[in-house]
């Protein structure tokens, strides 16, 4: 099973590497968003605003990055998938896109820090919250993308279907982030973090169970 997963992930990696346009597009998107924010905030930015803006950027990265996850499964690769169990397909996608997302966010955070500073004192809780939150975002969007890819107006569908589903994750992660930016630490965000983790688990479990039904059609 691991071999199949690795092959699937490698295949996605190859596709993305071959045509670099989507990746380049997103990187460009990130930098232009950050530079625009830098220009509008000329100098000092309050921690709360820093946090809010960062998560906004993160959300848009997430949607754009994961949007193409299922839409690029054209018919040419479709026949491969009749040979592989659907559960492994969704697992591979979940893993690949969470890694993809983490990479993009790391880059975004770097560029963001360069322009707008880094008012976070406690690194560990901030990073953990970021990783868990963005993992939830990418998983939810991956599942929604699989549903939206069956319809005709893909991009709009993803936003409509995805946005309500990610609200719990966003609320938890952003409030955690705000607490940390304003000087909190592990004990302050503990409860929220556990809830966030359980929401992630629910989403992943459901994706694993439900994806085969989406795939069958």
């Amino acid at each position: 099973m691991l071999k199949q997963l690795r092959w699937l992930i490698y295949k996605d990696l190859q596709i993305d590497w071959r045509s670099k346009y989507p990746l380049a597009g997103i990187l460009l998107y990130i930098t232009s968003l950050i530079i625009t924010s830098y220009l509008s905030f000329t100098g000092f930015i309050e921690p709360k605003t820093w946090n809010a803006l960062f998560w906004l950027i993160l959300l848009f990265i997430s949607i754009n990055a994961v949007a193409k996850s299922f839409s690029q499964e054209e018919d040419r690769t479709l026949y491969y998938f009749h040979l592989i169990r659907p559960e492994r397909i969704i697992l591979a996608k979940l893993i690949y896109y969470s890694l993809y997302q983490w990479l993009l966010i790391g880059g975004a955070l770097l560029v963001y820090t360069i322009f707008l500073g880094f008012p976070v004192k406690e690194m560990a809780p901030f990073v953990v919250n970021l990783l868990v939150g963005s993992f939830g975002l990418s998983s939810a969007f991956t599942m929604v993308s699989s549903i939206a890819s069956k319809t005709n107006n893909n991009a709009v569908m993803m936003a409509i279907l995805g946005f309500p589903v990610i609200i719990p994750i966003l609320i938890l992660a952003i409030s955690n982030s705000k607490t940390i930016v304003l000087g909190g630490s592990w004990s302050d965000i503990n409860d929220n973090l556990i809830t966030l983790l359980s929401v992630n688990v629910i989403i992943i479990a459901l994706s694993y169970i439900l994806f085969p039904f989406t795939w069958k059609s």
């Binding site: 939810a140 599942m143 929604v144 549903i147 069956k150 319809t151 005709n152 107006n153 569908m157 409509i160 279907l161 946005f163 309500p164 589903v165 990610i166 609200i167 719990p168 609320i171 938890l172 409860d191 929220n192 809830t195 929401v199 629910i202 989403i203 459901l206 994706s207 439900l210 039904f213 989406t214 069958k216 059609s217």
Partner: protein, 223 residues
């Protein structure tokens, strides 16, 4: 649900309960509370809308699951009609809530967590119907929307129950609101409130069964 589709007695129960609720809601004595005054009677009408909505959505999800597990098309019909009536109750709950809030909280929308969570919950089900509308093939429509129904319902639960408890809220019973905890337990109110939840929920299911029977008939005559 089959039982509800075939029997009638609970419809009479619903009517009797609702008549009782109207009489009791208007005539029984209520606790005298500041800010709320007489509007506390709205409790028997606004809150059961949300309970009814939740029961309807729960039944909708159960039938989505049943559709995925045995593929009978009637479960898809039942599931979507229940969701429709659920949305109706949700919208009514939201509108009545906003109206009530204008007179007691001062403004129709005060970004109270429960208000926001309910609005998003409704958005989820609107998205469910948009999804259904954009799929042509009957089987695919049924299957994909069943998947989304289950997925979105699971996202709704943390939204509605966990999050409002975590933050401050104008809603009674959340966020340390003074003076409201007393009325929750008032036995006079409870005498009307519990039947109200049952009565309005039964009414919701009655409307849903009518829509379901109609849709099933159309399906049968189409064959």
């Amino acid at each position: 649900m089959n039982y509800l589709l075939k029997t009638d007695w609970w419809k009479w129960l619903a009517m009797i309960l609702l008549a009782y609720i109207v009489v009791g809601g208007l005539l029984f004595t209520v606790p005298r509370l500041p800010i709320l005054n007489e509007t506390i009677r709205v409790l028997h009408f606004h809150v059961p809308m949300w309970f009814g909505m939740l029961f309807l959505f729960l039944a909708s999800v159960i039938h989505s699951i049943r559709y995925l597990s045995n593929g009978e098309h009637k479960h898809d019909i039942i599931s979507s009609q229940l969701a429709t009536v659920g949305i109706l109750f949700g919208v009514l709950g939201m509108v009545t809530g906003m109206f009530w809030a204008t007179f007691t909280w001062g403004e129709p929308w005060s970004s109270d967590p429960k208000q926001n969570a309910s609005a998003i919950g409704l958005l989820i089900y609107f998205a469910y119907f948009i999804l259904r509308g954009s799929l042509q093939d009957e089987q695919q429509k049924a299957r994909i929307s069943a998947v989304y129904n289950i997925f979105a319902f699971a996202a709704l639960i943390p939204l509605l129950f966990i999050l409002p408890r975590m933050t401050d809220s104008l809603h009674p019973g959340n966020g340390g609101n003074p003076g409201f905890n007393a009325y929750d337990l008032d036995s006079n109110l409870r005498m009307v409130f519990y039947p109200a939840v049952i009565g309005w929920t039964l009414l919701g299911f009655w409307v849903a069964t009518i829509k379901i029977r109609y849709a099933l008939l159309i399906q049968k005559t189409d064959d």
